[in-house]
Structures are given as C-alpha cells and as structure tokens.
C-alpha cells in the first residue's frame, strides 16, 4: 500500500476500509487498529492545537525547529569527537524469508570531521518484492537507536551528518 487517503472529515472511509478488511486475515482487528491509530493522531492534533491557541504558531514552530537544530549540533559534536577513521565490514544473509538466497551487504564507514559516510558499493542489489528490502532506510533508524537512542530527542536531523553512497 503506497500512501493513500483513507480518512476524510476525520472519519474512516467505509469503502476503502472494507477493501482493507477483505485483504487481511483479521478484519475486525484491521478496523480496530485503524480506529485506534486515527484517534491517537487526533489526540496529538488536540495537543498541538492547544499549544497553538495558548502560545501561537511561532512558538510551536520555533520549538520544533530548535529541537531539530540542537539535535543536529549535538550529533555533529559527538561525531567530531571520534578519531577520523575508516571501518569496513559486511554481512551475508542467506534468505529473503521466502527463498534461500545469498545477499551481501557491504559497508565501508568513513568518519571525516563531523561527517559519517556510508559506502554500500559492492552490495547485492536491493529487492523490491521481499520483506528484506529496507536496508538503507532501516540503517538510518538503527544508527539513531544505537548511537543516540537514550540521550537525546528523537528527530530526523540526527541523521544529517550521514552520507550514503552506493
């Protein structure tokens, strides 16, 4: 499912919901989960609107912005403290969860100043129709989790010092 609209006027569209329910083994759970997710989003929306009403949009945007900029600066600082180096490694997976298949993931990690460069050249091509198809995307999340998961706000800019080549 590529991103598509399933909610209008804060209500789940029943025709699309029915289609999704007919696509799964647990149709009641599918509906239940969609309702839960929608209401969780609405709760976040409520909190943001309360902030907008009490402090204004400039305060909200500046807070989000400051969070991101502070995290970026901190990540750069931490990376800068490491010695400049190059580390090479690789892993080989032997299954795509559907068939046996040897897949190599090659990685050369270079740290220069405040930048980390991930070089995946030499890796097997990414799959488009198997479960194991989020190598680069998953890497970004794993990097965040391993490096700064417990000590800083979670936002996207902690990956700004990362560069990727393949």
């Amino acid at each position: 499912m590529s991103p598509f609209k399933v909610v209008e006027n804060y209500q789940i569209k029943r025709d699309i919901l029915t289609f999704l329910q007919n696509s799964v083994r647990e149709p009641k759970l599918q509906y239940e989960d969609m309702k839960v997710k929608l209401f969780a989003c609405l709760r976040i929306k409520q909190r943001i609107e309360e902030t907008l009403n009490s402090d204004g949009p400039e305060a909200l945007v500046s807070t989000l912005r400051l969070t991101m900029e502070d995290v970026r600066a901190e990540v750069k600082r931490r990376i800068s403290e490491w010695p400049d180096m190059t580390v090479r490694s690789y892993i080989i997976q032997d299954s795509t969860l559907r068939e046996n298949c040897v897949v190599k993931i090659n990685c050369k990690l270079t740290k220069t100043g405040d930048r980390l460069i991930f070089d995946f050249r030499g890796s097997s091509p990414e799959f488009t129709n198997r479960a194991t198809n989020t190598i680069v995307a998953g890497l970004k999340a794993c990097w965040r989790r391993c490096s700064f998961a417990t000590s800083g706000p979670t936002c996207r800019v902690d990956k700004r010092p990362l560069r990727r080549s393949r």
Binding site: E8, V24, M34, K37, C41, L64, M68, A131, A137, A141
Partner: protein, 118 residues
C-alpha cells in the same frame, strides 16, 4: 495505543513532523525505527498528492500506508498519517506508525509468507 497484539507489547510509536515532512519529535516509548522512516511517505504525499486534483490534502484527511518501499520497515506494519492545519495551512503532521493486523498471504498488502507478531 494499539489493538494488535504487537501494539499491546509496545511495538508502536508516534511523532510530530514538520510541514515539510521531517520528524521533529518522536514519542519517548515505542520502536524508534517506525517513526524514523515515516518521513518518506509524508514527503511522498506532499510531493504527489497535495496538489493532485483528484486527491488533495485538506483538513480532516488521513492517509495510510505500509509499503516498505515508500518508507516503513516491512509490509506488515501500517502507518496512519494525519495532517494538522492552522489558519488554512498545513503546519504539522502526526503520523502513527503501528504494528499491524495480519495480512493475507496472497494479498498485495502482505509480507511474504510469515507476517510476524512483534
């Protein structure tokens, strides 16, 4: 919050994204990888659906997705994305990636063969 077994075990996360689709703040609990990747479908929506006459993005709309090629861990994880408007313009987004209902093996929404409970 979640209803699926994995969600009850904590396999969920939520976050607030900027109007351009970048993750600004994620919730403290949950599986980080979900919210770290959901900026991809948000930017897909901004690029492809916001100005598309047949779709559009307006207040009250919500989007769902699970395809890992558009930003997710794997196809069994579903994300709900809700744009937030203020004074007529989109100011933020609140996606809610969550572990998912199990999908049928042969459906286009399925993870091949072994949808996992997490």
């Amino acid at each position: 919050m979640g209803a699926a077994p994995g969600a009850k075990w904590g396999d969920v996360i939520t976050g607030v994204y900027s109007a351009s689709g970048d993750l600004a703040i994620a919730s403290a609990g949950g599986v980080l990888i979900f919210s770290a990747l959901v900026h991809h479908p948000i930017k897909f929506i901004i690029k492809n659906w916001m100005n598309e006459p047949t779709v559009g993005v307006k207040e009250g709309d919500g989007f769902i997705h699970n395809d890992s090629r558009y930003g997710n861990v794997h196809n069994t994880d579903q994300s709900m994305i809700l744009p937030i408007f203020h004074d007529g313009s989109c100011c933020a987004g609140s996606p809610r990636p969550c572990t998912r209902a199990r999908t049928a093996r042969s459906s286009p929404a399925a993870c091949p063969r072994w949808p996992k409970a997490q």
